[in-house]
Symmetry: C2
């Protein structure tokens, strides 16, 4: 059977294509009567509305907003923080009648998905420079979330400050040896300690800002914190967190405080501590970062910095839709003081 198009419908109804188009898009351009008739008939013929591709070509819009993830889709999206962010963005976009498109940053995405969206929310430090370049080139509105790119508006939290705050709190509570379980500090697939020369890095990634906060707090409290006590964890999951935590906690002397750059890492560390028979907070204190739901339910409940990723998503989405893409917004967080420290 021939495809049902606006043109075919128009012919069948004996009216012009414009009128059919208007029936769908601009009700004020034709009589209510005719419009109803057209809509009915189109339903009958199984016409599911004007072809989206053609419309998009003609109007230059697609009513889609993309989230440019820094990793593979499946990984980015399974992270609880990213998940909350996506949820927040989705809420706002839906209300605005826009679609959300998730773009993987890790793999070479075919151009269709990249070319289509009317705007982009770049989430996390982009790992694919060519892709970023294409997106910048597109001239479409851009916004960063949890990253900072020169010339692009952004929504962030003050990672340095809150890392400083929670580290300061923890250091005051707990004397003894300090270790950091850091997330994606360097470009390596394996858990490892930092080397001296890797201690500082011009990198704008949020994990670097957090590390700087920890280091500043340690310095201010005159507590030792060397590169060899700073672990790099390549992926934010339980598995890698446990590997690092086990390395850190089987040292002699054993650290008495773990500063963890994410709640997932902290939860992994808690489970290792339990396996090692350590009592939290007596033998060991642990703090996290992010404020994911699981952190409230853990035993002991995790002391952490609560950032509101859903709100971050909502704000970013609203800014993008409003064309408000020049500002750099910093959202407040809260220290959640619980039993783990």
């Amino acid at each position: 059977m021939p495809k049902v198009t606006l043109k075919a419908l128009a012919k069948h109804l004996g009216v012009s294509v414009a009128t059919v188009s208007n029936a769908f898009n601009r009700p004020d351009q034709l009589s209510a009567e005719l419009r109803k008739h057209i809509l009915q008939e189109s339903e009958k013929l199984g016409f599911s509305g004007p072809n989206a591709t053609a419309r998009s070509l003609r109007t230059g819009r697609s009513d889609m907003i993309a989230i440019l993830l820094s990793d593979t889709l499946e990984y980015s999206v399974s992270d609880p923080v990213a998940n909350q962010l996506i949820k927040g963005i989705a809420e706002v976009l839906q209300d605005a009648g826009k679609d959300m498109l998730l773009l993987s940053g890790a793999k070479a995405v075919h151009s269709t998905a990249e070319a289509l969206p009317d705007g982009f929310i770049i989430y996390g430090s982009p790992k694919n420079p060519e892709q970023l370049e294409r997106v910048k080139q597109s001239g479409k509105p851009l916004l960063c979330v949890d990253c900072n790119l020169s010339g692009i508006g952004s929504v962030n939290i003050d990672n340095y400050q809150y890392a400083y705050d929670i580290a300061e709190y923890a250091l005051k509570k707990q004397p003894g040896k300090v270790a950091v379980l850091g997330l994606r500090l360097i470009d390596s697939d394996r858990v490892c300690r930092l080397q001296q020369h890797e201690l500082y890095d011009a990198n704008e990634a949020i994990s670097r800002r957090r590390l700087e906060g920890y280091l500043a707090a340690a310095k201010q409290q005159q507590r030792e914190l060397n590169a060899e006590q700073i672990w790099h964890i390549p992926v934010n999951n339980h598995h890698y967190a446990q590997i690092a935590a086990r390395e850190a906690l089987t040292q002699h002397p054993r650290p008495t405080l773990l500063l963890c750059m994410s709640d997932r890492i902290a939860l992994g560390a808690i489970s290792v501590a339990r396996q090692l028979g350590l009592n939290i907070p007596q033998d060991l204190r642990i703090v996290g970062f992010d404020g994911i739901e699981e952190a409230e339910r853990s035993y002991p409940a995790l002391t952490t910095v609560a950032q509101h990723s859903d709100e971050k998503g909502r704000i970013a989405a609203r800014m993008l839709l409003a064309g408000d893409t020049a500002e750099n917004v910093l959202l407040p967080c809260e220290l959640r003081l619980r039993d783990s420290c």
Copy 2:
């Protein structure tokens, strides 16, 4: 500045649009020399390749495949089973040079995202009948995963059989009262027990097949399993699992066996059991379903049915790409007998 298009490029270079188009798509249609020149010049002008929308309109293809999720994006995708599936699909699609598009089933998706893909993988029981209808109408290749729709090819596991098998195994091991912690058995947002009339349902959802398996095994072993011992859990997460587990495990007499329809539910139940001071497997045995990674690491390690969702994804994607959309494939699973039962 004027937009850079094929036409603009052609004019600038003094060749026809067709030639520029061929430079990108059909290298054999022009001399290598000219092609190189065109590509260089196009790079210089910041032309990022032929406009995807126009190409898609002209060719009728978008090189995108959509996964039609049954829930909201953020929820569907945070589920470990869905996550594995997506990973598998992504692998195959990437190798084939296709893009993956995630479509939310819960909300009204704007037509652009729905109209674009060249094919659909429907994941889970669709909750949005109109959307499903539109997708069917499109005439594009469809495939179901973890669901069954008449006339549409599918990739599934034998939920009935494996539920039967693991229940049979557990029932033989453990005498006493049996309870089922079921996932999405009825249409309710709250944790609750099933009513008598809800025990059987024509619904094709996988959870129903699993329940039938449990019931058949109980019957075969002449063990009691009434509606009042079957819980409905609306969302596959720790939170709801714990609510249901707490209800089930604070009964008198207490059940000694929990048949859980997902590993996440089972893990939630394990944590409740621990809170109640119950010893597993002495006081209580628990089995799960799915075989997620966490289930190996839990304490005690979870006895479950391992389905290979990544492989399921790969197979589904390959079938769809091969145009092999009529078959109904059943993938094998394995019983993983561990300490929890």
